[in-house]
Symmetry: C2
Subunit: 120 residues, 2 copies
DNA sequence: AAAACTGTATTAAACGAATTAATACAGTTG
DNA sequence: CAACTGTATTAATTCGTTTAATACAGTTTT
């Protein structure tokens, strides 16, 4: 379900965050669907529960899931999740476009890069 | 000339790297112009020479400057530097566009984001 | 009601990357 | 020769991440 790369310099909690967010926004985890418990996922991935807890905490504070003490953690509505994710990506996208413009890249060349995936 | 933010979670050597690269690709540091020595810049910024050394080493390995033992470090030709920088930014840009496409954002909406800087 | 689950919080230890510190060596310049 | 330059190395420190070991309160199950 989730794969952790221990050679990846990025923190584990961040890898877990990204993986779960992707499952949520893609709808693999349906809105309202229950996620594995903190301890269960920690056991499955062979990492510490505190690390999972941190990923869950940040996923909740970013609106991707909802945790209820005693009950569990549940995927939030995929509409809201998708919006949050798009917003996040678009912000980074605009910032990068700004940098590219400062580097002398024209809008036309950016558009070409988007359309073609080319790296000329 | 350069400002370091100690509250920034990013490593200092990376902040120095970015700042110097920007000065080089923007032409503020002309091609061939001598940069402050490792020890001098370290003293100016009140950080350790080893940290500056690391920034310089990576700037050289990425083609933004050229270090000569005994003489100093010199900004590389801004043409090559600009190209390297644009390549780097464009790679990240294309990767982000890919993610946005996967998130269901159309090319048209990406283009709109570039043109307007809008965040709708 | 008891047992087994859930999220959450806390404290301490271990680990690794970043940073500092203190040198040292070789080449260049004045 | 003296003062600069880049470069290399080793050890100590600092800090964020991760682990570990608990504990508490609420929910579900038996």
């Amino acid at each position: 379900m989730i794969h952790i790369d221990f050679r990846d310099p990025r923190p584990i909690y961040e890898q877990v965050y990204d993986a779960l967010r992707n499952l949520i926004v893609s709808g693999v985890l349906a809105p309202g669907e229950k996620l594995p418990s903190v301890r269960e996922l920690a056991s499955t991935l062979a990492i510490n529960p505190n690390t999972i807890q941190r990923a869950y905490r940040e996923l909740e504070s970013d609106g991707y899931l909802c945790s209820v003490p005693g009950k569990g953690s549940f995927a939030s509505g995929s509409d809201a999740a998708r919006s949050a994710h798009r917003r996040e990506l678009l912000d980074r996208f605009c910032a990068l476009a700004e940098e590219l413009r400062a580097a002398g890249v024209s809008d036309e060349n950016m558009i070409r890069a988007i359309r073609g995936g080319e790296r000329t």
